[in-house]
């Protein structure tokens, strides 16, 4: 949602003492200092970047040749930290083995007129929306180093070259390292014109370099928000009203006052209560024993059946927001020789990040500081300031590596507000709030629930003449950014179903096409969940295309190729998986294949799944071949890792994932009731990364969407069963009789 600010070379080139001084806190994170032992504050001494002046907001070169690259987006496992650093290092022409990274803070960004642009890390936008201004940051710094060398050697700047952190003048044989030249380069004027490298000339970007952040994840030294230590730190556990929209009526603090370690019991907002104690285990144990009375409010009787009925009514409602309309669907349907209709549904999902929500806050009447894993530091700062009752300039957020994000830690910072509210009740004392897994499951921002009715009209020859796709269900924007809904239309609902465009164009050519949405918003808080609405849109479309193929007696690949004739990039990824998977050739005995393709988050993706179904109904997903065309591939190995990982997320939802409600409460409170894909379920993923150039697409999310429909189509091939309501665990599979 946040557009990045344009790169401002005037600002970037200006050495800033203020900025430098402000840098010290984030430096602690990147410099490998354990936050547990080094609590960053504004009063502390500079660390990683130290007293070395910056070349610009993105680049600091230290005398010992260390290159510090600043990363505004968050690292949550998706590899953005490494990929963005590669792009800057590429333009800088530095020695990759000397690169370190650090996070600027949201407060610094605010103080420097948002010189780092957006901090938002979601929508697979980390690289594709910041590559331009970050590469320019690297290129500007390189130009200043060249200018400094040329001035020193009294030669024209056009005669000096760079490579591996060295500036050279071939004619005189002179050379100087970036570390030697940096101090002089800082005073150079940034060039007005910059030409970025052609990606075909990349030497660092585009290569499968290892991640920069692996070491600390091998020996337990990587600090996550949950691991923070600081002097005088207290710990808090919290319970919010288990019924959405309910309130806290009363609690009896005296009942737990004598429990070990308990310091305070705090009402948080109007719906939650927290216990603060020396340790988190003490806080949690005391909270479990705390007598609490809830006012369950208007949703106390709500359940999943009511929500399903509400959505079902939307499938045939006369009013709906139109996402795409081609031709005249009603007329074409009326004239169709044959009609096919099917209704699908996709349930609520929880993000279930491995690290539950947590934040550490310290509040005084003058200042509020928050340490938290967040996908959007600036949004966290805004939430902290509001909860603190202080202007943002008197607040700061220090980002910590995330133990998973997947969208939960991006748009809404409910846990930050809670942590600040608790800290506000204990001025001057740092308090770490950790959600229990149960709290995390009951108070998610859930992947929205939808149903979808698809109707196809075929002519006498079996050609698809008309398609109506009616989506009924929840709008994420209505729940989070209602100001972005225009004329009742939530554009995010139509991910992958757009008429053209660069984000998610619907690839199939259908002469008469209507895609519309009847918005139905149950009182369950929705959120952006990795892959967002592309996930179920791909299931609906790609399963139904298979249904049409079956009805028309066509091979699913043949039909897709016909309908994608005008969409060469969609077709290319589909053909790539079909070829590698051996579509049309005999599969191993008892194995069946299924296909899916879609465009989302600016990239083209396709998958071919190969499954078997045993006599007892056990499904085995043997392999999935996946292809991605992201335009440019900044780190092919990280893309492969994202594709593999995305399938775990997509298949977890398809196989098991379902959040249901009873008596106004979420029924799944931990991993035993919300199972996810484990090692034993995991197929071998064969990833094809096929960047065709000319555009920048995301990679963290798009392939999630094709995992489930490819598997569902393979299941149909294996069993003849068309699974239309997920998860799969609701169904008993029966293999076809051979």
């Amino acid at each position: 949602m946040n557009a990045p600010h344009d790169f401002d070379t005037r600002q970037a080139g200006r050495p800033s003492n203020t900025g430098r001084r402000l840098f010290l806190q984030s430096s602690a994170v990147a410099g490998g200092l354990m936050l547990g032992f080094h609590v960053p504050t504004l009063a502390a001494e500079p660390t990683a970047a130290g007293a070395t002046p910056e070349l610009n907001a993105w680049v600091v070169v230290q005398p010992d040749e260390t290159v510090i690259i600043r990363i505004a987006r968050s690292e949550m496992g998706q590899g953005t930290l490494t990929g963005l650093a590669q792009l800057v290092a590429e333009e800088l022409d530095c020695d990759w083995s000397r690169v370190k990274t650090e996070y600027p803070t949201p407060g610094q960004n605010l103080a420097r007129d948002r010189v780092w642009g957006s901090f938002s890390t979601g929508g697979s936008r980390g690289v594709r929306e910041s590559h331009d201004y970050m590469r320019k940051g690297g290129a500007t710094a390189r130009a200043m180093l060249m200018q400094a060398a040329a001035a020193q050697w009294q030669v024209p700047v056009s005669e000096v070259t760079t490579s591996q952190g060295q500036v050279r003048h071939a004619a005189s044989g002179r050379s100087g390292s970036y570390g030697q030249l940096a101090a002089a380069a800082v005073t150079q004027k940034p060039p007005a014109d910059l030409t970025l490298k052609d990606p075909k000339d990349w030497k660092i970007a585009g290569k499968p370099y290892k991640r920069l952040d692996t070491r600390g994840k091998l020996d337990g030294s990587q600090i996550y928000g949950m691991d923070l230590k600081m002097p005088g730190l207290l710990n808090a556990a919290i319970k919010d009203c288990p019924v959405f929209g309910g309130k806290l009526k009363s609690f009896d603090a005296t009942a737990i006052a004598s429990k070990p370690g308990v310091k305070k019991v705090v009402a948080v907002g109007d719906s939650a209560v927290a216990v603060v104690a020396d340790t988190w285990w003490q806080a949690k144990t005391a909270l479990d024993a705390l007598p609490i009375v809830w006012d369950e409010g208007p949703n106390a009787a709500m359940d999943s059946a009511q929500i399903a009925a509400m959505l079902k009514a939307g499938l045939d409602a006369p009013e709906a927001a139109v996402g795409q309309r081609q031709g005249d669907v009603p007329a074409a349907m009326a004239g169709a020789a044959r009609k096919i209709e099917a209704v699908y549904s996709f349930p609520y999902q929880n993000h279930a990040t491995m690290e539950t929500m947590n934040a550490t806050a310290r509040w005084t009447p003058e200042r509020c500081e928050v340490w938290t894993p967040t996908q959007n530091g600036e949004a966290a700062l805004a939430a902290a300031a509001e909860a603190a009752g202080l202007p943002p300039a008197q607040c700061e957020v220090y980002k910590i590596h995330l133990g998973g994000g997947f969208g939960r830690r991006g748009a809404v910072h409910d846990w930050v507000r809670q942590a600040v509210a608790i800290a506000k009740a204990m001025p001057g004392t740092p308090v770490k709030l950790i959600w229990s897994r149960e709290e995390d499951m009951l108070h998610g921002r859930y992947h929205p629930i939808t149903q979808c009715k698809l109707t196809a009209g075929l002519d006498a020859k079996g050609q698809l003449q008309a398609l109506h796709m009616r989506i009924s269900g929840q709008s994420i924007l209505a729940g989070i950014f209602p100001q972005n809904i225009k004329n009742g239309l939530d554009p995010v609902v139509f991910q992958g179903l757009n008429q053209g465009g660069t984000e998610g164009a619907f690839g199939y050519s259908v002469p008469n096409l209507l895609i519309d949405h009847a918005m139905r918003n149950p009182p369950v808080p929705p959120g952006f969940w990795r892959g967002v609405n592309l996930n179920q849109n791909a299931i609906y479309v790609e399963s139904f295309i298979d249904e049409i193929a079956h009805a028309a007696g066509k091979d699913p690949l043949t039909l897709r190729r016909e309908l994608l004739a005008q969409s060469p990039k969609h077709l290319a990824v589909l053909n790539a998986v079909a070829e590698k998977a051996g579509w049309g050739k005999p599969a191993p005995k008892g194995h069946y294949r299924g296909l899916a393709q879609i465009m989302g988050f600016g990239s083209y993706v396709a998958a071919c799944a190969e499954v078997s179904v045993a006599k007892d109904g056990t499904l085995k997903i043997h392999r999935i071949v996946a292809a991605t065309d992201p335009g440019h591939a900044v780190n092919p190995q990280q893309i492969q890792a994202q594709v593999e990982g995305s399938f775990v997320y997509g298949l977890s939802a398809a196989l098991f994932g379902e959040i249901t409600l009873k008596d106004g409460r979420v029924q799944q409170d931990n991993f035993h009731t919300y199972p996810v894909v484990k090692m034993e379920h995991m197929p071998q993923v064969e990833s094809i990364v096929m960047p065709s150039g000319g555009f920048w697409g995301g990679v963290g999310e798009p392939t999630i969407a094709v995992a489930a429909p490819a598997v569902l189509n393979a299941i149909f091939a294996a069993t003849g069963q068309r699974i239309r309501d997920l998860p799969l665990s609701r169904h008993t599979l029966k293999p076809k009789v051979a």
Binding site: D219, G220, Y224, T353, T356, L402, M679
Partner: protein, 167 residues
């Protein structure tokens, strides 16, 4: 006050006997490499070694741990991340967010001690840890690599070291 042997040292822990070993490690001893994920032994993020065996420390009350029991956490698995499992993990760039990886590595190390040449089925049954980022393919490959069942070149994951050489 309980006495424990953790990573080769005898330590005193000031916590109630019903405190899970996980929280004593994290909050009393400051060993935060062992993670809280579920509290119900469902996810394995809290896996440590108890006398060489992988256990889920979130459901192990301190009262059930004897002073003579040897506890090893991720911090004590090796010096400088030099355990074969850690080296294989580094070779294949296994972690993504990394939160589950301490538990994964501890479970894998215990598996290899028990079964030096594990089959895929052995891995499926021993490695029941949850990873939401989806590192399972690489975890499996790294276990086989650590076991010496495959060589690095046969694994279709091309990576470069920071100096640009093939990893």
């Amino acid at each position: 006050m309980a006495q424990l042997q953790v990573n080769g040292k005898t330590v005193e822990v000031d916590a109630d006997g019903d405190t899970p070993l996980l929280w004593a490690l994290r909050e009393q001893l400051g060993l935060t490499g062992t993670k809280y994920g579920c509290g119900l032994a469902q996810c394995g993020a809290c896996t440590v070694h108890l006398n060489g065996e992988a256990v889920r420390s979130c459901v192990r009350p301190l009262s059930s741990v004897a002073p003579t029991d040897r506890i090893t956490t991720i911090e004590g698995l090796s010096k400088d991340a030099s355990h074969p499992v850690q080296k294989a993990w580094a070779a294949l760039d296994v972690p993504q967010c990394g939160f589950c990886q301490s538990g994964m590595i501890m479970a894998a190390a215990a598996l290899l001690k028990d079964k030096p040449k594990p089959t895929d089925a052995d891995i499926d049954s021993a490695m029941t840890n949850i990873c939401r980022c989806g590192t399972y393919n690489r975890v499996r490959a790294a276990i086989h690599l650590a076991a010496g069942q495959v060589n690095r070149k046969s694994i279709a994951i091309r990576l470069l070291d920071p100096n640009g050489s093939e990893a």
